[in-house]
Amino acid sequence: MSIVIADEPRTAPPPPEPAVPVRNYLNNNYSVWSWLLTTDHKRIGILYLVSLTLFFTVGGIAAGMVRLNLLSPSGAILTEDQYNRMFTAHGVVMLFLFLIPSIPAVMGNFFIPMMIGAKDLAFPKLNLASWYVFMIGAGFAVWAVLAGGIDTGWTLYPPYSSRYSHTNVTPGVFGVFITGFSSIMTGLNIMVTIHKMRCPGMTWGRMPLFCWALYATSFIQLLGTPVVAITLTLLMVERVAGVGIFDPTIGGDPLLFQHLFWFYSHPAVYIMIVPGMGVVSEIITCFSRKNIFGYKAVAWSSVGIAVVGFLVWSHHMFVAGISYYSAILFSFLTMLVAVPSAIKVFNWTATLYRGSITFQAPMLFTLAFLVLFTVGGVTGVFLATLGTDIHLHDTYFVVAHFHFVMVGGMVLAYMAALHFWWPKMTGRMYSDFWSRASATIIFVGFFLTFVPQFVLGYHGMPRRYPNYPQEFQVYNVLSTAGASVLGFGYLLPGVYLTLSLFFGKKASANPWSATGLEWQTPSPPTLHNFDATPVVVCGPYEYAIAVDQMGRGLPEPPGPGSAGDPASHFGPTGPCGPIYKETEVVG
C-alpha cells in the first residue's frame, strides 16, 4: 500500500494490497534486546501497553478485595488495617500507574507521530528512557503497596503520612515521584513533536482532535507534575529527616500540603480524561461517517479544560478549613470547567445526528463513554456546589462521581482506543461478537457497581470505612455484584484480544475506512511509518468525501474477501466532493 500524493490523482480502482508487507515494526527483529533497547515509538507504545495491562490487573485485584470486604457490614475478608492498605494500593496503582500514563503513553506514543505524518517522536531516546523511568518508579510503588502496604490513602495527607503512619510511605512516594518524571518526558516529547514534526500540509486546523487533546494533556503534564514532584519531595524529606515544612510542631501547615498536592492532582484528572476525549472525537466521526460538529470548539475546549483545570484545586478542601471567600471563588471556577466539557459532549452528540452509525466495539465503548461521562460530569457539579458538598464530601457519592469519570470515562475511552487501533497495532482483527459483548457487559456492570454508591453516599456512608450500618448492606451487595460483572467484562478483552494475535483474521490497512493518516500505512505499520512523507490537503474528518479523493489515501478494495470483516461493509460513502478540495477548518 502506498501513499498517494496530491498531484497523482487515482481514478482507476486501486490494486489489491499485498497480503503481508515485507517488513513491519513487529517482524523486523524478534530478539529481546530489539524490544528492550528500541527507540521506535511504536514498540515503546507496545512496551507501555504490556506494562499498563499488568498494573491494571494489580489495581483491579485490589479493587476486587475492597468490594468483597464490603459485602459484610463488619468486613468480610480483611482486617481494618488490611482494608486501609488495600484501598490505598488500588488508588495508587490505578491512578499513578495506569490512568495517568494510559492513553498518552500507549496511544500517544504509537499514534501521534503517525497521525501528523512523522517518522518518530522528536526525542526517541528520551521516549525509551521514559519507559525505563516509569518501570523503576512503578517497581518502587508496587513493591511498597505489596510488601507491607501503605495505609494513608492515595492522597497521602500529612501529618498522618509524615509522622504517624508506620507503613511503606517513603518507598511508595518515591516511586510515584519517579513515575512523575516519566510523565513529564512523555508530555514534553509529544508537545515538541506536535510543534515541530508535522508533515507538509498538516496545519494546526487539520490536525486530528486526538492530537489537540494530547497537546492539552501534555501542557498539564509539563506544568502540573513538577509541583507534585516537589510536594512529594518535601513529604519524603519530612519523613526521613523527622522535620519538615508541613510539621505543625514547628509552625508548619499541613493544609499547605493539600494545596500543593491538589494543584497537581486535580489537573491530573484532566491528564486522565482529556486524552479519552480525543479518542472519542476520532471514533465518533469514523463510525458516524461524518465530519466532527464544531471542530474548533472541540479543539479549543481541550485547551480550555487544561487552562481552567489549573484554577479549581481547592474544591477538594471545602471542608478542610479554607476561607469562605476562596471557597466561593473555587466553587465558581469549578463550575466553569464544566463548560468546555459540556461543549465537547454537545458537539459529539451533534456529530451523531443524522450520521450513518454502525455499532462495532469501538463505537459501543464510545457511546458508553458519552453516557457515563455525562453522568459523572453532572454529579461533579453537585460536588462543586458548596452547600451540597458539605453533605456529600468524603462520602460514596464522591467515590461514585469520580469512578464515573475515571472508569466510565477514561477506562472506556482506553478500551475504545484499544479496539479502534488494535488492527493497526497488531495487524489482526479481533472477534466482532465477543468485543461487542464485552462492551455491553462492562457498561451494565459499571452501572450496577456505581449507581448504588450514589445512593450510599447520599445517605451518608463515608468513603474509606471498612464498616457500615446494617441498612446499607443491600446497596453494598449490589455494588459488589456489579463489580463482579465489571471484572468479567474486563477479562473478556484479555482473552479475545490475546487470541486474535494468533488466530485473528489479518487486518487490512484501513479496516474502519477511517480518514486519519495512521490508516494510510499497512497494518502493522512499516518501520518508519510511511514510505514517503505524506502531504495533507484537507481536514481530518472528511468522511463526506470519498477516501480516495482526499488526495492522500485509498479506499478499501470492495469484495467478498473482506465480507466477514466487522467493518468492511462500509466503504467510502457520501457525495463525492471536488477532487483536492482544500478544506481548511481552522485558520
Partner: protein, 260 residues
Amino acid sequence: MSASTHSPVLKHHFDNLEQQHSAERLGMWMFLATEVLFFSGLFVAYTVYRYLYPADFEFASSHLILWIAGLNTGLLITSSLTMTFAIRAAQLGDRPALLRHLLATAALGSAFMGFKAYEYATDVEEKYVPGPMFQAEYDRAVEELTHAPKDHAESHPHNPAWDLAARNLGKTYGDPGFISPQRVQLFLCFYYVMTGIHGIHILVGIGCILWLVQQTYAGKIPPENYSTVEVVSLYWHLVDMIWLFLMPLLYLAGAGMKSH
C-alpha cells in the same frame, strides 16, 4: 530530501538540521518550564511562611554566612558568561576555545559547590540544623544562660542557638520580640531543601558540561551541531537564575537585622 540534509549529525527522523535544532531548543525550553514549576512550589511555601512568621525568618536568615553566598553568586554569574563564550566558540568551530570555556564553566560550578560544602559544614558545626540538633543546643543555651548570663553568651558569640537564647532571655512565647526556635527550624528546612535541590541541579549541570567536554574531544560537536552546547547552556543559565532568587530570599531576608 536534498543531499545537504544528509549531515552526520542529522538524526533519521528529522527532515533537516533546522528542524532538529529547533526541536531540541523547544524541548529544553519546555523542560525549563517544568523546572520553574518545580521550584515554584518551594517559593510559594516559603512566601506563605515568611508572611506568617516574618521576624523568625529574619532572625534565622541573619545567621547564614553571607560572604559565601555573595562569593558564590559571583562565581555562578561568571560561569554563565563563560558558558555563553562556549556557544560562540562552538559556532565558530574553535575547538580549543570551546574546551577552555567549558572547563572554566565546570570549574566555576565546582568552586560554587566547594564553598557550599564548606558552608554546610560550618552550619552543622554550629548545630544550625533543624530538628533535635538545634533544639537541644537551644535548650542547653537557655538553661545555662538563665544561671550565668554573661559568661556563656560571650563564650558562644556567633552560635545561632546561643544568640537566640540570649535574645529570648526572660521572654516567653507570645511576648513581643520573642523569636520561636521552632520557626527558626522551619526556615532552616527551607534553607537546606532549597539549596540542596539547587546543588543537585548544579551537579547535574556540571555532569552535562563534562559530557560536552568529552563530546568535543571526540569531535562530535562540529559547528552545525552547536545547538547541543546551546541546549546545555539554557539549562545552566536557568540553574544560575534560580540561585539569583534563592540568594536574596534566604540570605538577605535578615540582612537588616543586627545579629551579633
